[in-house]
């Protein structure tokens, strides 16, 4: 921030009015004037967006990091807290529950979505009349309004008369789960809903990856006598590795950030069965006004997301070596 401000000031102070002061050679001052003009032109393009971005995104991001080390709630003035907020986290039961639920959610959501999205992409990567219609239709849940999705799935998961359990009864499962009404099955219910919602999005990413694989690879494999499975294992999967990595990173990050779908579907319940970190931040920060403490939870969330991303990045690097 400061460097940017300084640079802007510098750009303004070096106005074309006093070019001779720095150098007497006209060629050099002309080059400097051109450079200054570039800076001004560049900034004039960026500024309208940057003003909003700096004020409403960049400053809050930096503030969040500072707030995590402060005592501050809606009733008292802010004071420096050091690591107090973090020691309090260690003893906070709700934090433990939310952390565990978030990890469990990611553990279910990431592999399931990855596998299903890849499967769909492989199935829909064919030369077939009307295939685009199928792709578009499967993508549609991803852009449907979240509230509508949550409402419908809540009803589908109704323990006694919901279509899901009626189907389970039909195929002979007498003791069907209570889904969103049960503390053990609420999280799986939420995971199923979110996999259904997200799979089309990641399928599109995989389709893009699949279509980037040169056809010559498959022809070469066929010459070598490779069957369908061998081609899949030795050509498709290795060539898809960059896409798989991207999907894995995006999926993990979105899993740890999960909030609105769960919030609308179960509001974290029953009890605290589906309470996740993001909801805890919202509850402590905006409802209870504990700005400092909730920012500490935010920082933990950010560090988790960062660690997961860097870990996957390192793993990818090692495999490529």
């Amino acid at each position: 921030m400061t460097t940017i401000a300084e640079r802007r000031n510098a750009a303004q102070h070096d106005s074309p009015g006093q070019p001779g002061a720095a150098s007497n050679r006209p060629g050099r001052s002309k080059a400097r004037a051109l450079r200054r003009r570039r800076i001004l032109v560049g900034w004039s393009f960026i500024l309208p967006n940057f003003l909003g971005f700096a004020l409403f995104t960049l400053v809050p991001v930096i503030a969040a990091f500072v707030l995590a080390f402060m005592h501050w709630d809606a009733y008292n003035a802010p004071t420096w807290a050091g690591i107090d907020n973090f020691t309090r986290l260690i003893g906070d039961d709700s934090f433990h529950v939310a952390l565990a639920n978030t990890c469990l959610y990611a553990l279910g959501h990431v592999p399931l979505t990855l596998a299903i999205a890849l499967g769909l992409a492989l199935l829909l990567n064919q030369k077939l009349r009307g295939i685009a219609f199928f792709r578009v239709a499967i993508f549609f849940p991803y852009i449907t309004s979240l509230v509508a999705v949550a409402i419908v799935w809540n009803m589908l998961f109704n323990p006694t008369t919901g279509p899901v359990n009626q189907f389970l009864h039909l195929i002979g499962i007498a003791d069907a789960p209570g889904w969103t009404a049960s503390t053990t099955w609420a999280l799986p219910a939420v995971i199923i809903t979110s996999v259904w919602r997200d799979m089309g999005y990641y399928m599109v990413l995989f389709l893009a990856g699949l279509q980037a694989i040169p056809h010559e690879y498959y022809e070469a494999a066929e010459v070598d006598g490779a069957g369908r499975w061998q081609k899949f294992w030795n050509v498709t999967l290795p060539s898809l590795r960059p896409t798989t990595f991207l999907v894995l990173v995006l999926l993990s990050v979105s899993s740890f950030k999960v909030f609105d779908l769960i919030f609308v579907m179960t509001q974290g319940g029953p009890g605290r069965a589906t309470l996740v970190l993001s909801q805890l931040i919202y509850q402590d920060g905006i409802i209870n006004g504990q700005f400092g403490y909730s920012s500490a939870i935010s920082l933990v969330l950010f560090v988790i997301v960062l660690i997961v991303t860097v870990f996957q990045f390192k793993l990818q690097q090692r495999r490529e070596r």
Binding site: A64, Q126, I138, M155, I213, L246
Partner: protein
């Protein structure tokens, strides 16, 4: 961190060419994801028919919640959760679709959602494409470091800074206004990122030729780059519109008066108030989806391309 984001963006850059290639191929939506490699060619007619059967079953399973939603919206409340399931209503209760407007201020909710979505989309596309020009076509010191700051904030979860944002808005007295939501969402880094990735693929020779013809940078942006980037503009506009329309947490945190509520908030509170009116709730859900469906069907190739090229907004 920096290497990570640059790697991600280079990966995304790689995808861009694919999207653009598809775009040049044909204006037909079907061609956006044109099979190039890795496809299995199905030769026999039986195999092809079998494939259609498999795909249709798959489609039915995926779209089942929507079918159920639509069918329930045309029933009486008591008929929604019956054993066994009635897929087709015994009598079509069309009156649900006329009564809902009296029962909840649905028209007002739709209006509020539309206002927010249009204003935010307009500002995001305008300032995003303008800034993207500065980031891709003008060379000046500090530019790349600044762009990195943009990308880095995309990596920070929104939840992590929602508290400072809220405190700011509270102190500015902007809670419970559209202004708060517009300010928070219209200048996102995502729009700049998406547009910049597209502008990088436009050859510099074009803008240099225009410069020789006497256009300055603003003229080049308006007359050369903007017309060339219509597909990317469409992608960004549609993604932003749909995201704003579907946003729940933003309006939920900032808008407390009923007269400002969006469709999403209105619908959610509707369940709280009339939890047993299943059919009417489904009617509201269908109405909330229809605008998205229309926009999606009209511009689906831009959606798919926007996502395939950016791989962001997760």
């Amino acid at each position: 961190m920096s290497t990570l984001t640059s790697d991600l963006s280079s990966e995304i850059n790689g995808d861009i060419e694919l999207g653009a290639g598809g775009a040049n191929g044909s204006g037909d939506g079907r061609r956006v994801i044109a099979p190039r490699g890795g496809r299995r060619r199905i030769r026999s007619r039986v195999g092809r028919i079998l494939m259609y059967v498999v795909l249709s079953v798959l489609l039915a399973v995926v779209l089942l919640p929507f079918i159920w939603m639509l069918s329930s919206s045309l029933k009486h409340d008591a008929e929604v959760l019956t054993v066994p399931i009635q897929w087709i209503p015994q009598t079509f209760v069309w009156s649900n679709y006329s009564q809902i407007w009296q029962q909840v201020p649905m028209a007002g909710y739709l209006m509020n959602s539309a206002i927010l979505a249009v204003v935010i989309t307009f500002l995001q596309v305008l300032t995003g494409s303008f800034a993207a020009y500065g980031f891709s076509k003008v060379r000046f010191p500090g530019r790349d470091a600044l762009f990195l700051a943009y990308i880095a904030t995309i990596a920070v979860p929104w939840q992590a800074y929602m508290i400072p944002q809220y405190i700011m808005m509270q102190n500015a007295g902007l809670t419970n206004t559209f202004t708060a939501l517009i300010l928070l969402q219209a200048f996102g880094a995502f729009g700049v990122f998406l547009m910049r990735q597209y502008y990088v693929t436009i050859p510099d020779e074009l803008s240099e030729a225009a410069r020789i013809d006497g256009l300055n940078d603003y003229g080049i942006w308006a007359r050369i780059i903007l017309p060339l980037s219509k597909p990317a503009l469409a992608s960004l506009a549609l993604l932003t519109f749909v995201n704003t329309w579907n946003d729940y947490m933003g309006p939920f945190i900032y808008l407390s008066s009923n007269s400002l509520w969006t469709v999403q908030i209105g619908l959610r509170s509707f369940i709280g108030q009339y939890s047993a009116q299943y059919a009417m709730i489904m009617t509201g859900s269908v109405i909330s989806i229809i605008p998205i469906l229309v926009i999606f069907l009209a511009g689906q190739r831009y959606f798919i391309r926007g996502i395939a090229t950016s791989g962001m907004k997760g």
